[in-house]
Structures are given as C-alpha cells and as structure tokens.
Symmetry: D3
Subunit: 274 residues, 6 copies
C-alpha cells in the first residue's frame, strides 16, 4: 500500500518557461528510458519476486521513489509549457526563434492536455507497458534494470546538456545522481546473487549439460567466405561466467534447406501451391 | 550488405506436429525477448556505432546470426502448425486433449498466415520496434544486450521445459547454448570497455562533479515513517563503480508542494480554474 | 446499412492554406478525442446494444453523423496542406515564419499521404481502436460518451482559439455546437435510464449487499501518517447515487505482506529463488 | 512524493489456484478498464491540475489508492498462476477440464513473466498509456473518471460472477465497493464544480454565442429519406445543461461536394491526377 | 454525409451460437484483413483523391458498403457469443469439448464488451489505423486495395471452411462474393488508369531518366559467392511495365564500409567513443 | 542462414548534413512503406511459402537485399544528423532557418539514439510488425508486395524531390530504380502464377459455386435513393478475372433489423437491459 504527502522529492524550479524543452522532458516521462518505465518495471518485478523477500522489498522501495520522479518531471513539463503559444497569432507576433515553438512542440501538450504533461515521449508517442521487463528471474530482472538506468542516465545527461535553465539543470543534477546510484544498486544486487560467475548464464538453474556445449562459448563468424571472425576479448581466454573458454570459428550451415511441402487443400492457399 | 544460402544454421526437426507448441514458439520470434528483437537491436546498434569500428563489426556480425535464428524458429512454427485443425469439425472429431487446440493457438496463425509463422508473440501481439534499444552509447547498448540475452535464454529454457519433442529439444539446446555465448560476449565487450570501474556510471563522459553527489551513492528509503531502509550490499561498502561508498537514509521531501496557478483564459479549461 | 450523397454535412472553407493548422486538425480526426473515435464508439455500442432498441437506433444514428464529421475534417486537412512545401528549397525561400512549416508539420502528411489527411493525431500517432469503449452496459457506455464529447469539445475549442481563418472558425463553430448537443444527448439518455439515483452505481444489476459495504461510501485518505483526508462534497452528506452517506477516514493496510514463496524448479527462475 | 509499507490494502487470498482466472484478472490490471489506467489517469490529472488545489490533492490521494489496487491484483494473479502447468506433459496428465489450461491462459504469463502478473490485459495485450485521459479541463477529467469507474465496476462484477473462489470473491467485493465510492466521488466533484447546469457544456469557459447555436440543441436524424428522427428525452424539453431546448430534425447536407482539384506536379501522384 | 436505415445489407443468421467461432469472426472485423480496414482505407483514399472525381466517388461508395459489412459481422459475433459461459462453473458443467470455450475465446469479448463484438482481431489485439493505406497516388492506392481484398477473401474462405453453421456459411458466401467483385473492381480501376504499361512503375510521374537505370530491371542475386540468381519470368524478357528488359546478375557491394567517426563530446556517448 | 561483408550495397554520401532530411529519411526506414517492412515481409513470406520452392528462394533473396537497404538508410540518417544541435544554445546561435532544426526533427534521434537512426517513422512512431503481410497464399502475398513497392517508390520519389543534396539524390536514384524492378518482379511472379485470369479471384482454390454468385461481379451503389451507381470499367464488360461480366445496381438492404434481445442476468449489463 502507498502513501503520499503531496510534496516533491526535490525542488522543481523553472527560471524561464521553455516549451521546446518541455517536449524534450517528455522523453524522461514517457520514453522507453523514462520514469514511468522504471517505476512500473520495479513495481511488477517486486510483485512477482519469489524467494528471498529482501529483493521484493528493495524493488518496491525504489519503485516508490520513481513514482516521485514522474511527479517531479510532470511538474517541470507543465511549468515549461506555461510559455507556449495557444494560437498562431501569438506565435507569429514573437521573434523568429520563439515562433518555431508552436511547430516544434508536441501539439498534444496543447490540444489534448491543455499545457500539462502526458505519458508520452518527446515525439508524442504514448508509453506502452510492454517495456516493463519483469521476467520472474531475479537476476535477469537486475540486468534489465542496469540497462534501464544506463539508458536513463544517458537521457538525463543529454537533457542536462540541452538546457541553459539553472533550475532545470539543478533538478537534472539530482536525477543524474539517482541514476548513478541505481546503476550501482542493481549491480550490487547482482553481486549479492553471486557475481558474474555465480549469476551467469542466466537462468543458472538450467543444467548446462543439456545445452549443446559445442556452441556455448564460441564466437561464430558470419562474414563472407574466407573471412575470419573478428578477434576480441570475446574470442579467447576464459569466459566471463568462468564456465568455459572462448573460441572463434566461421559458421557454416548445419541445417537443411527448409521445405514445408505442399499446402493443405482447405488452407486458403493458391491451387498452384497444393 | 547481406547474403543468404537458403540453408538453416542448425537442423530444425519436429517429430510430432504440435500446434500449441507452435504458439509458444511464437514468443521466441515476436516476443520482446525474441529473435526479431535481438537481430534488429544489434543491427541498429551497429549502424549507429561511433568510435572504434570493431564494435560495429561485431554487432553486425551477431545481428546476422540472429536473422538466421528467426528463420529457424519460423520453420519450426510452420512445421508444428501442420497438425492444426482448419475447421471445428476436425477439432471436435479428435480426442478431448487435442480438441483444445483450436481454442488454444493464436488464431491468426490459421486465419492470417495460413499455418505459418508471424512476427507476433505467443498471445498474437505483433512485435513493436520500440523494443530495439540502440542508444548511441556503446556501453549502455552492451547492458541492454546482456539483459536481452538473459531474458532470451530464460525464455528458451522455459520452452525447452515445455516440450517433449526430441527435435524441438535439440534445436532449443542449440539456441540456449548461443544465448550462453551471447551473454558472455556482451559481458566481454564491457570488459574491453573498461570493466565495472571504467564503464560505470554510464555515460562515463559526464563529469560527476556536475551531478548532485550527495545522492550519488545513497540508498534512499521510502518506507512509512520511522522505518529504516533495507540493508544489503547496496547500503554499505564501496560502490560497484569504485567511485563512492554506499550509504542509506530514509528520504524526506526536499521540494515544494507543486502549484501551477490558475489556467490561462484561452486554454480550454473550466472557468472555475481561471 | 449505410448510404452517402457525397456532400459535406456543413461547408468546409479555408481562406488561406495553413499546413501547421492541418497538423492541429489531425488531432480532431485521429486523436483520442477525435471523430474516428466517437464514430466507431457509437457504432460498436449500437451493434452490441441489448434491451430496448431505441438506444441502439439512437447510437447508430449519431455514429452516422460522426462519419460525416471525419469527412469534413479530412477535407479541411487536405485544403490546409495545399500550401505545404514539398522540398526544403521551397521552405528556405520563404520567410522565417513560414520556413518553420516543413519541420513543424507531421511529415507523414507529405511523405505518406501526399498532402492528404490521415487517421493519425497531431503528432502523427495512428489511432488505435482500443479507444472504442463499448461495454455491453448501456449506462456505462453513456458515461463514456459524455466523457468523449467533453474532451472532444475541449479540443474543438482549442482549435478554434488557435486559428484566425474565418472559414475554419465557421466550421469549428458548427462542430462545437454539435458537441454541445451530444454532451446533452448522452446526459439525456442517462436521465431516461433513471437519472443519478437510478443509474448509479453502474452496473445497477449487481446486488449491493454482495459488495463490502463498509467501504462503499468512504473517502479513504492515503496521506502520510496523521494527516486527515481532504474534506469536500465527497466526504460528507448523502452520496450522489442516493444509496449511502459519504464518510472519510485515513486508510491503514488490512492485508498481509505478500509472500509468493519459492519459485518452482522448472520455472526458469534463478537457483537462489528456489 | 510517495511511501510504501509493503502491506496490501486488503487481504488477498486464493483458496484454489486457478490459472484461467489469473488470465481474467489480468484485465483488471492491464485492461483499459483496469487499475493501471485509473492510477495513472488520476496521477496525471493531479500533476496537470490548475486552479483550486483541492482537486489536485484529491486526485493524487486516490491515485495513491489505486497503486495499491494494482499491487493487490498482481498478487492475486501470481497466486492463481501457481497451479499452471509448465509443460505440456503436466497438462496432458491432468483431467480434460484442466487440460484446457495451458491453451487457455496468456502464454506470456508463463513464458515472459514466469508465473507472475504482467501489465497486459486478459488477452495478453500490453496496456498503452494513451488511455490516460488528462485534459487540463477539470470537469472533462471528472467525466472521464466517472466513465473509467463505471466500466471498472462492470469489469469487477463480471470477474465476481466468473469465479467460485471465496478468497477471490472477498477481494472483489472490496474492489467493487471502492468502485461504488469512486463513481460517487467523481460525481460529487462535478457537483462541487457547479452541477449539470454549471458544468456543461464542457468547457464552460467558451462563449456559447461563438458556436453555431442553430445546432446546439438539435437532435439530427441521419435516417434514409422521409424517416423522422427517433424521439426521446434528447429530442424535446429543456436541455440538461439548462441553456437551451431540445429539438429534432432530419439532416440535409449543407456543404458542397468536396473537390481538391488536381495534384501538384512534384507530389508523387500519378500523372493522370495532375 | 451518410445515412443509415438500421437494416443489414444481407441476412445474418446463426443456427447454433458458437463462441469460438465468434473469436474467429473478430479477425474479419478488427484484423488487418478485416472490414474496418477496408472501410477506413477507401474512406481516407476518397477524402484525399485529387484529379478525376470519379475515383473519389467510387471509393466513397464502396467505403459505405464496407461500413455495412462491419455491422453484419458485429451482429454475427454478438449472436455467436450468446452461448458463452459467464462463469467457470457454467463451463465446467458442460461437456469437455465445450469446456474449452472459456479458455478459447477472447476474454475481452466477455469482460470488456459483455458478449458483444469489439474492434479487435481474433487474438484480442485492437485494430491500429496505421493499416489504412492512402498514399495520395491513386494507382498505388488501387494496388493496396487489390492486396486488401486478396487477403480479405482468403480470410473469408478460411472462416467458411472453419464453420458448419448454415447461417454463417450463407453470410460468408455473400461476403466472399463481394470480395471477388472488389478484387475485380480495383483491377478494373487500374485498367482505366492505363493498364500495366500505363500505370507502372508507380508513380508514373517521376522521369525515369532520373533513376539509376542500370538497376531498374535487374534481378540481383544475394546468394553466397558463386551462386547464380534464380531464373524466372523476372530474370528475362520484357519487363511487365513495358519499359525495359529483365536481366539477372549477382550483386557485389558498390559502397564503402560505413564509418561515422568519433562521437561528439556532448552527445552522451562513452568517453572511449570520442 | 545469412552472411555480411560490412560494406554498403551502394555508396551513401552526404554533402551537407541536414538533420531535417534525416527525419524525412526515417520514413523510409521505419514507415509503413519503408525498408524494414519489405525486408521482414519478404522474409516471413519466404519462411511460410508452401509449394514450388522457387518462390521461397526468390523471396528470401530479395529480403536479403532489403536488409542492405535498411543499412544504407541508417547510415544516411546518422550522417545527416551530424549537424544537429545538441543544445538550444547551439540552435539559437544559428540563423533563423537552421534554428528550426531542433524543433523540427524527431527528438528521439537526439535523446534516445544519440544522433543515430531508429526503427521509427518520420514522426517518431516505431514500426509495428503487424504490417508484415504474409498470408500463406502466394498470390495474395505478391499483390501485397506490389502494393508495398508502389508506396515505397512513391515515398522515395517524394524524398528525392525534397532534397538538394547530390549525394542523397544519387542514393535515392538507386533505391528508386530498385523499386521499379521490384514492382516488375512481383508482377512477373503473378504472371508465372497464371496472370489475371489464372490468379484471380484470390484464393483461386475456393470453388466459386459456393459463393453467392449473384453478387460476384456486381458494382453495388450506396448513394442516396434514386441515384444510379457510378459507371466505369467496373460496371460493364468482362470482369478482369475473366470469370464473369460486370453489372451495376443500387443496393437495398436484404437483411433484417438486428435484435440481440435482452441481456443475460449475470452479464454486467444494466437492469433496464434485462
């Protein structure tokens, strides 16, 4: 169960309303690297966590933090939209630089939400909850979370670079710091789960002698004939999971040319296929 | 540029056509953990890779492998669908267990594709390319790839457990092995990029003195009043990126109660809001 | 069955082609508040209406009107797009204000439809028919229709405020009037169905003694500890449905801490979860 | 900012795991009438609320409640999935009735989430945040909320009717009661905002003398020639908003036959169109 | 503008309600080959048709017919759903064959629409209006329409084969006939537009001397090294458009190895990329 | 199985980076007329092709070509994005025409992909694999391919007209030529399958005496009462498939007024419907 106190986790201040930056901030709300995604991802991972309950609790704790980040960003979007033109007349009257605003923002931020934030990305595409990765495997979930925070911090850095507003830079310096922590937090959880050699390959509950081990640590090359696979850490030495040694080889097809045979009479195919 | 020889990377054999398993296999084609996703993800990461070209080449090489996995799985789906009833009469005539088939498969595998594979998941939902994570940051991309292969191998293991067909188990033992390699491959790339202490926090090009460092390594608690944050590897000791020390503290709101003020006259709001 | 006479329900006149306004008008076609939505919503509600056939007939009648509104707006979009630049050269040659056009419109209105309307919103996102609310409960449907026309008229008002074109203002003054009527029409239907006290709670066919009546008229507070729920019409006096009295109380969790136990051996979880 | 105590708002008890009912419950999580939708809808309405802050506070308060409902339902889904077969062998071994389970559930609840809840509907379709209606007009928002709770309670009633499990019926009797309250709560808010005559037509800030008032209270008939419009409360008497009188008339086209003229030379049209 | 008479274009009769067939019929409503698609596709093509108005008129005429087909199919779905179980108890009480029903249908047809049709496909996926192909090129539109009716008739044939119900077979025999006509109708329109040699390549308004004509009629082979392209009508003889002669050759890359160079300093890339 | 040589099929050269044109090019990657679509469409058609294997081989061959086109366009997008501003300061400092850039491009091309291509269209909407038409009927597939290449070439022509960059015009002159060939290629395949009279109506395996032949070649009119259907090639003469003669007649409803009767007691309907 959840509670709220109606206050923001961190101050949200906009010195000069900038509707174009409001559009950019939408990516941090409804983009695939955004806050709805991590809030809901940690939430559903928590709800489906089996085994040691400490992971469930930690996940739900941080999901709760991320809800507050959506709130912060939605406030920032609304404040930045204050200066948006509501009519073309307003836009045309302004200087050329600001006249690009009406065409440059997500129009739905005016037409659909009346100068407020929406759960859409910076091009107005709504967030789709299929991006909530919650696999039922706690280690796979942690890797998904590291990835989410890596792209999330990359986005926040790009937003930081894009704006000159001191208030917005301050808010983003906080969110970037939280992403630093969260990257470390999920990496720490992977360490608790056994570190690279204990965790990988995920899922570690599948007996590796059931997989075709000839191909478990081989870097296969798919270059045109006669070209060797590209060398790198992935082509020699011990594997990262400590359970094999990397090798490299060009791949040749081991399988047949597929042949599905003729179509069944009542299958809606063309007569020539039967 | 690409080439094909029309043969399968690994043999695809179905001993007894099983339309319900065809539905399950669709998840490995068009699910978010599936082969279209990794093929296209590595493809777009390659196309956008800046800096050392070895990453581009390795990514495109493995994208090319994954295209062949889609081909294998699509063949497996079509072969398993061979036994699907095309009419309810066929279904009813069979025994109760197999009569569940018509209701149990993705109907589009009959109605739309005529007993062939589709780029949809196991519930018939089409794959959406927003799941192609290609961030322009090579390290963030690698974390996304580890996550993709972690959920991918988890899916392949679940499929392996679900079927009794020796042909299908053989094909899956190969795909599981490839997922083992690919998890290791992207981890190896992260090692080439500097390992945890060189890579994180991603992006490592952002000067950390610009982030609000008070919160960079703090595990914040969002429990009801008076409850301490949950202890774990994430709450004490050196951070995984080697650039700070973990701490823990309950969070209190630092920001204001948001107030957007009255609505603008022409904004389509209700008079009472103005 | 349907007929057409190829004429518009109301004149559509554009004095000066304005491609940026064409983009805005797209929201009224393919936005979630747009005309495709209401046309299809009333259509499917009609097709699924059980009981007194007058509701079916009225719904299909107004669905038929809304089809004509799509036609009007599609014509308006095409006429406004007439002035769009087809090349960057054309754009650059123009003055700064109009040069923002090529970047400011939905590019698909040039590239995909060749200067014609599309079933997309003002940011180019295609309409998705999941927004067709048709519940099989005639009263729930009426509330969805009131909501659709409320957001629809809000959108039309915002469009009216955005343009200076006399032809467009005339067209919108008609559509706004129709939205006024349709809001009233669905409210009138709710009155025919019994008014607030006869209709609510929807569905009125469920025996209220089967619901947990302790919570049926309670405004529950989810503020931090010690803060009382916010007072308002919703916290005291007779309930709007006339079947209870409002009360207010802070909420405390009544349920357990969820515990799903260990993961099943073959479920693809990590060994540590089992 | 938000807090959690890790406990459920109301007890969630499953007497006999029923994977098919888990599928049905998914509709209450990720369906368009489900809890993610109302949680996020009230959340974004709160973040965008301008004017009297009591509406913002009430909306965020109830958004916070709905987050706890997602948590309850996600727990219920996971508990019901406990009995799902992980392999076809398990399914076949069971009796015919339960053998329909593997084909009858959302396969992603096994393959993607490992027997846990997902943010998808009962057919496995992910929730799409475009269903979050937050218009910037507080009264329009309230009508959208009444509609959401009307379809939400209808769904909960259908789920109640579908199951025989005493634990599930108890949980649903609570959720149904909350939907009763929430329908009344949003109706009460509309009363605070002025009641039907003060609120409608939404937005009430648009001067009605700018709309084409000839059509503001007319029920227009679109039947084949010579058929009168269907009579009802909507065709005579005072309008519900108290600002006009209903009338009825068959509609005739007032507009022209649209003619876009020839295509522009460089527009990618066929020569015959130019 | 449109009219309706409330009657069906052709009788819809269901001898024995069959909820599983209702699911299959949903594909003909909301599938990509379904009636919503063609209705809306012809509608938007009509609205955007420039040049000779006879194409606009014919398109809108047939769009109007297709609206009536949605109505017929929605009625058929509702009638077939009459026999669906509303509770698991009802399902279990029935014989094994019919007990598969509850798991076999789109659950939303019960839970969301209360035994009525929805604008979704046979797996419950909502129709997405991006499938409305309306290109602004009248000939391209006609090819899209031939394709739509080809897949549409294939679907109708599969539905015909799937059912034993005489009423449903009668309805489908009508719809199949209409698809026969519509395939011919769009082919006839292409003949009016000039036939293969006048119409192709589409758009015929682009001067072919601006294309790289070395590759305009070459069947390029992408087989592994040393393998000749597959011979066929496409590799020799006059081209279908009458403007060239087919040839065949293996393809070799003509372009460079792409190199994007280093990443820009503020672009959020990793330091190692700069 | 597939191979790559890391080189581009054709040179990709950008003389002057143009971020706005990068946005336009995205339509050719992730638009419904774009290269992902044809690559995946031919790929899945190949995988599901039954009957004569030459069609499978030809389809997979050309799918392989199209993969290389995605690679070319993704390179072109990245090169054109090189000049995009990463901050508003950069934009403002530039001249008014280029200052429209930041607002005019897909912001995700900066924020999500770091100046690289994405699988989205020119308005930032991700490609959705439901656009992969692969029907299991080889002739229906060929019509879908003609349509895809017709809209694809129309798009490429519009892009050619939009840019002044000699490098981009050269690349597009190649892609336009390939679309010319591919239109002819699929038409040639239809000729191999029997030409119009052998192929149509699709599927040709359905006995036409089972369709309601009274309506198989009738152009039905849905104009208001008393208006004759529009005459054209589709209303008289031999049908294109050679199996009937066109006729024309106004349509009258042959079916009943639909009546679903009262709602079932436990169906969640309103009491008034029962």
């Amino acid at each position: 169960m959840f509670y709220t106190d109606g206050k923001l986790q961190y101050p949200v201040r906009v010195e000069k309303a900038d509707p174009l930056f409001a559009r950019a901030l939408q990516q941090a709300i409804g983009g695939i690297e955004g806050e709805i995604r991590v809030a809901m991802q940690y939430f559903f991972q928590a709800c489906g966590a089996r085994g040691n309950s400490k992971f469930r609790d930690m996940l739900m704790n941080t999901a709760t933090e991320e809800l507050g980040h959506i709130e912060m960003l939605a406030t920032a979007v609304a404040l930045n939209l204050e200066g948006a033109p509501l009519s073309e007349k307003e836009a045309v009257a302004a200087d050329p630089v600001s006249s690009m605003v009406l065409g440059g923002i997500n129009m739905k931020n005016i037409l659909s939400s009346g100068l407020s934030a929406m759960p859409v990305d910076s091009d107005g595409v709504p967030f789709d909850m299929s991006h909530v990765y919650a696999s039922g495997n706690i280690a796979a979930d942690m890797t998904a979370n590291v990835a989410a925070e890596a792209t999330g911090r990359t986005l926040a850095v790009r937003l930081y670079n894009m704006t000159n507003d001191a208030g917005m830079k301050d808010m983003l310096s906080f969110l970037i710091a939280r992403d630093t922590m969260h990257q470390n937090q999920w990496l720490a959880a992977l360490e608790e789960l056994g570190g690279p050699q204990g965790v990988f390959p995920i899922p570690n509950s599948f007996p590796q002698d059931l997989e075709n081990q000839e191909f478990s640590y081989a870097f296969l090359g798919f270059q045109e004939a006669g070209v060797e696979p590209l060398a790198g850490r992935w082509s020699e030495g011990e594997s990262i999971d400590g359970k094999g040694r990397f090798a490299a080889m060009p791949m040749k097809p081991l399988g047949q040319k597929p042949d599905l045979g003729p179509a069944r009479p009542d299958s809606g195919a063309q007569t020539e296929q039967m």
